[in-house]
């Protein structure tokens, strides 16, 4: 199988053994079901062991799995009547971000997400899911459209970061991201953001200022990629694993810190193992989020977002008992 990961190896070996044994039984007509049962029990135990004790770095690997479902995979399974809408009306159409209108449980929504490619050819077209300013401006255009027509907005986050290139700088990458943050703050419709894979820095946050922010169990979200953090902090990008362990970037970490609202459980072994099942797990969380937020008035939604972000941060005052060491 493509993209088997190092930490999964013991399970993979057992799976192969079981397949071999089954084939042997079929071929020779010998009943070894006792042995088979034992192996299957062991596999279950090993899988529980592996997937129950994943390190942050293991999760990063899963988040980057080449077969991991992308925004468009979820759009086509979670929504009906999706119509993709292109372009920022200013410069071009950035395919690193997709967006459009659709229905969720029969109700209209606007859905936007980072889109990486599934193969090299598509990745080149989609710039590996790393948007230029026109991508963020397209996203903002669709959000404003959603607001005008009172549609909730669903954003799916999955990017290694905003594209660091000359043309991106010339066209105002900083301004495009900054503008989205401020404009998303004021949207008078429900905004739900779900990190489905990688959530790197301002490039992710630029479509991530929501009333509710959720993360898939094996996604990550941080101020910088583990590689970038390692390069900056220890001048050595090969220390990415250490950075992943230190930086608190996984869904359980962000849930602990109160930055995300819910962790969406993943299919054992990662979302790519069962897309329909994974989509239904997301659907449950999205549905309850939408139901909750749909009860709020326009003003309440804006105030709710204000309060959510206002309380993020850790600091004390000089005279507080905790104090600085």
């Amino acid at each position: 199988m493509v993209g088997d990961l190092e930490f999964e190896r013991p399970a993979k070996e057992l799976r192969n053994k079981i397949a071999e044994l089954k084939k042997f039984m079929d071929d020779k007509g010998i009943d070894l079901s006792d042995e088979l049962e034992r192996l299957e029990e062991r596999l279950e135990k090993v899988e529980k062991e592996i997937y129950g004790n994943m390190t942050p770095w293991d999760r990063v690997q899963l988040a980057r799995h080449p077969e991991r479902p992308t925004t468009l995979d979820y759009i086509t399974t979670l929504f009906t009547d999706f119509l993709e809408l292109h372009g920022d009306r200013l410069y071009g159409d950035d395919e690193a971000i997709v967006g459009g209108i659709a229905k969720f449980h029969g109700k209209p929504v606007t859905v936007i997400g980072h889109q990486r490619g599934k193969d090299t050819k598509e990745n080149l077209r989609r710039n590996f899911g790393m948007p230029h300013p026109e991508g963020y401006r397209k996203a903002l255009r669709l959000m404003k459209q959603a607001e005008k027509f009172n549609r909730p907005i669903v954003c799916l986050l999955d990017t290694k970061g905003a594209y660091p290139g000359m043309s991106a700088e010339e066209r105002g990458q900083s301004e495009a991201i900054a503008r989205n943050l401020v404009e998303m703050a004021g949207l008078t419709v429900p905004v739900i953001c779900i990190v489905i894979g990688e959530g790197a820095s301002g490039g992710a946050l630029a479509i991530g200022v929501g009333n509710h922010v959720h993360m898939l169990e094996n996604s990550w979200y941080s101020v910088i990629s583990p590689e970038g953090a390692a390069a900056l902090l220890w001048k050595d990008s090969t220390q990415a694993k250490r950075a992943a362990d230190t930086m608190k970037i996984t869904a359980p970490d962000l849930l602990d810190m109160g930055i995300i609202d819910q962790m969406v459980p993943e299919v054992e072994g990662g979302a790519h193992r069962d897309l329909p099942k994974q989509a239904s797990l997301i659907e449950t969380v999205l549905k309850s989020s939408l139901d909750e937020l749909s009860k709020m008035t326009r003003d309440e939604l804006v105030a709710h977002r204000y309060e959510k972000y206002k309380k993020i941060g850790q600091y004390t005052f000089e005279n507080d008992s905790i104090g600085v060491k």
Binding site: A162, Y163, P164, G165, M166, A168, E169, E170, R171, G172, Q173, S174, E175, I177, A178, R179, L181, V182, E183, M184, A185, G186, S201, G202, L205, A206, G208, V209, Y221, S222, V223, I224, A229, L232, L233, T246, M247, K248, I249, L254, M257, I259, R305, Y306, Y309, K310, I312, G313, Q314, Y315, T316, F317, E318, N319, D320, I322, G323, V324, K325
Partner: protein, 284 residues
């Protein structure tokens, strides 16, 4: 000849060595890193830390900036007792913070407060690149947010002087979220029809460039200030070509439509004052 009777005084060419440079008493003279001319520090300070021969704008501390821009005796500092924590338990993080506190005399990489500019009452924030490169963690984000909230409450203009390498790595995703926090506060200030001016100074990059710095009602910058989203080295590695000399300077941004004006330090106060005056025109 007569002069041959006297012992010849040999002339040596003097080549300045590193040792000689070190022999100049620390702080008395300053060498411009751009044009290499040497001037007395006193002269430089009198010129508001702008090189007297090439106009290079030296870095300013927050206090120096406040002295330059805010009317004497009107500055009231807020939240100077706010303290940094170590949310990721990052080794030595608080020790480095403490070191910079001692070095700079400020509690974090931004100073906030209220004051007047030629009699116009404003709320402002001044970032200081001498403190952890002006990077934004929880305290910087919170101080700026609170300053914006005061401005909204008191219906005053908000002015920020940015100087920052971006989000602070050592506070991880909490630093990233400060971009969102300051943005929700700015949106509320904006919705009240209040004025927000961003003055970008050297350097303004990363998460600070990609949040409040870039979205003033007026975006000004000091000459030659480095302003950009991604670092030059990262871009060069990504696109595998050399970047133009003026890439990501204030002048580059002006050319590409990202700034309202590049303003010389000596004109900054009067420029801000003009904007404030025009905005208060209806009320007087």
């Amino acid at each position: 000849m007569l002069k041959d009777l006297f012992a010849k005084k040999r002339k040596y060419a003097t080549i300045p060595s590193d040792r000689v440079k070190q022999d100049v008493p620390e702080g008395l003279m300053t060498k411009c890193p751009v044009c290499k001319s040497i001037m007395t520090t006193k002269e430089l300070n009198k010129a508001n830390k702008v090189c007297i021969s090439c106009d290079h704008h030296f870095r300013m501390t927050a206090q120096e900036r406040i002295n330059l821009i805010i009317d004497q005796g009107t500055f009231n500092e807020t939240n100077k007792g706010m303290q940094t924590e170590n949310p990721l338990n990052f080794p030595n993080y608080l020790e480095t913070i403490e070191k910079d506190r001692k070095k700079t005399g400020i509690n974090e990489a931004v100073v906030t407060g209220s004051g007047d500019i030629n009699g116009h009452s404003i709320v402002f924030a001044v970032m200081d690149a001498h403190f952890r490169m002006g990077s934004m963690g929880s305290v910087v984000g919170e101080k700026i947010t609170r300053a914006i909230e005061v401005a909204t409450e008191e219906r005053k203009p908000f002015i920020i002087f940015t100087a920052s390498g971006g989000a602070r790595m050592q506070e991880g995703v909490l630093s990233l979220m400060q971009m969102a926090k300051t943005s929700v506060a700015l949106k509320r200030h904006h919705e009240e029809g209040l004025l927000f001016i961003s003055v970008m100074t050297h350097p303004t990059t990363g998460g600070v460039s990609a949040s409040f710095a870039s979205i003033g009602d007026y975006n000004f910058a000091e000459p030659q200030a480095l302003i950009g989203f991604a670092g030059r080295r990262i871009i060069e590695q990504t696109i595998r070509q050399e970047l133009p000399e003026d890439f990501q300077t204030a002048e580059f941004l002006l050319k590409h439509g990202q700034l309202d004006a590049v303003v010389h330090r000596s004109k900054m106060k009067s420029t801000l004052s003009t904007v404030l005056d025009i905005h208060q025109g209806g009320e007087e």
